[in-house]
């Protein structure tokens, strides 16, 4: 694609679909950090940096109505889902969507119908990231190619585009006039390189379970759960009933994201809390990210985006913590 036609392309897509892309936060408004939103004009798009906020809530809604009820009568919900094109996703964003797909669609149980509906009406277009910032460590994870289309910044005038799925191919066909056919191998391995300056030495942390690193890392943690909320992979949830004022027999059963750093995450009747200590909760999150998910599904859940470190008010850098602990354990020099 010629960069000169990009804005026209976006405008044309916007005729029939919502166009969701990264935009800058506004210092004067409520959301001061960058995020994904449905843009009204191509000039809003800001692909220079990783968004502060994750993409996940487009699929894993902040509040999903599972059904409404009146006494024992249950009614299926109607969800309003526009046809959406997501643009400017980085490979870490895309892999996090892949992991959510695993949990909500491909975990061996019946697909989650709400998530499925949202995913089916979406097209994922990536924008290759050449260099991460101080907190990016995606190269330590081993991300997979996962997208409908991926844009590469070929040169001053051109985007190279890799088609990653049938859906992507159909989309290119629909907007044919903006794309040019290229030969096989046009996107080179060099195009796919991403440079990181930050690094997680190992995702194998099984033998760090009893390590003192967890108490030192969680020392400054306030259990604010910013890491859970900003993580594009965290997908745990709560289900609760919301009733109408004045008639408790009418209401909705809703699902909302839940944060494992918060004490109430494992609270049961009698006020018993299974994961009572913050050290254990901190360790649980990292273990789920690096070990538990892989044990089950064969892939590391963490995608190395670093949002949890960037957004941590206590500036807890668990990556460096683990690197140091692992090195110590191997008997190396600090």
């Amino acid at each position: 694609m010629q960069k000169g036609v990009f804005d026209d392309f976006v405008r044309e897509v916007m005729q029939s679909r919502e166009f969701v892309a990264p935009v800058k936060g506004d210092q004067t408004k409520e959301v001061q950090e960058s995020f994904f939103t449905d843009i009204k004009d191509p000039s809003q798009i800001e692909i220079g940096q990783l968004t502060y906020f994750p993409i996940k809530y487009y699929f894993f809604a902040k509040k999903e109505v599972l059904f409404s009820f009146h006494k024992n009568r249950i009614e299926e919900p109607e969800i309003d889902i526009p046809e959406r094109v997501f643009f400017g996703l980085r490979l870490c964003d895309l892999n996090s969507i892949k992991h959510q797909d695993t949990v909500f669609l491909n975990n061996g149980f019946r697909a989650d119908p709400y998530y499925q509906a949202r995913r089916e009406h979406s097209l994922l277009i990536g924008m290759h990231c050449k260099k991460g910032d101080d907190h990016c460590f995606c190269q330590s994870i081993g991300l997979k190619d996962f997208y409908d289309l991926m844009f590469f910044d070929k040169d001053e005038h051109t985007y190279g585009i890799d088609v990653g799925s049938e859906k992507g191919k159909a989309f290119v066909d629909e907007f044919r006039r903006f794309f040019e056919e290229k030969e096989e191998g046009y996107i080179t391995p060099e195009d796919k390189v991403t440079i990181n300056t930050f690094k997680l030495d190992t995702t194998n942390i099984k033998n760090l379970w009893d390590n003192e690193v967890w108490s030192s890392l969680s020392e400054k943690c306030t259990a604010c759960a910013a890491c859970n909320n900003l993580c594009p992979n965290c997908h745990c949830f709560t289900v609760e009933d919301e009733v109408e004022v004045g008639d408790v027999t009418k209401g909705q059963r809703v699902r909302k994201p839940a944060a494992c750093l918060v004490k109430g995450f494992t609270r049961v009747a009698g006020d018993h809390v299974f994961r009572d200590d913050l050290v254990g909760r901190f360790r649980h999150r990292i273990f789920h990210q690096l070990e538990f998910f892989r044990d089950r599904y064969g892939e590391t859940m963490c995608t190395g985006c670093g949002r949890c470190i960037r957004g941590c008010p206590a500036k807890i850098d668990w990556v460096t913590g683990i690197n140091t602990a692992a090195r110590k354990q191997r008997g190396g020099q600090e």
């Binding site: 009820f69 249950i74 309003d80 975990n107 949830f237 289900v239 009933d241 839940a258 070990e291 089950r296």
Partner: protein, 270 residues
Amino acid sequence: MKIKVDIGPYKPEPKKIISYKREAPDSFTIRLDWQIEHGPGQFVFCSAPGIGESAISICSDSRNYVDLNIREVGNVTNELGKLQVGDELLVRGPYGTQYPMQDLKGNDFLIIGGGCGVAPLRGVIKYIDGHREDFNDISLFLGFRSPEDALFKDEHEDWDKRHKLFMKFDKMEHENSTACYTGSQGFVTDLVKQEVHDNTNKIAIVCGPPIMIDKTVEILREKGFHDDQIFLSAERLMYCGMARCGRCMIRGKYTCVDGSVFRLDHFEDE
């Protein structure tokens, strides 16, 4: 675009209550007109619309009905306590692992339960009674707070006839109470200490409060039991039953899917 969602996996179905029995001051057993394939140890979700959903173990073993024993400990369970025969209850299930009864044929069974942990064990007892020739000696070790709190009192005499029933109560305030068939003061763990001598061809099934499970496991190991001879049930907060909400996770295992019945050698606590 407005899309009507088929809520399939989260949709509870109304089932009629065909009997209701108060077991103890804070617990009751209901029978639902519900025909499902299930195995001992599995559980279902019961809804009290407007309040929430609770995981409850199946305490029967029948293709014709489902029995649930519910202890009133909070919002949902208190609301469920108000149900009456003829009412409908919203349920979904079954979920979770079962005791692998097929693989355990030919063994002696030690069925060890504390408090409301006895409920799922009743399902095991019912299963064994239905397949009696497959199993050898069955010993039941049950512990409750007091004779009044004992579950399934009507069935104790029968259990004692068919098997060996041992009971202990934390307190025996009502010494002369006829509430219970038999038993004396003490802990269920004392029974295991006294009555179990070796691990030969024995399977132990333990269900109850965490501390009781821990103590029992310790004693069984002392008696020579290997971890693959011991089954336990874990209880955690649960919202989905489908390895998604993450609330029930114990060191990477989903209690709702990998449990709630675990063979001890497959279970690692945090």
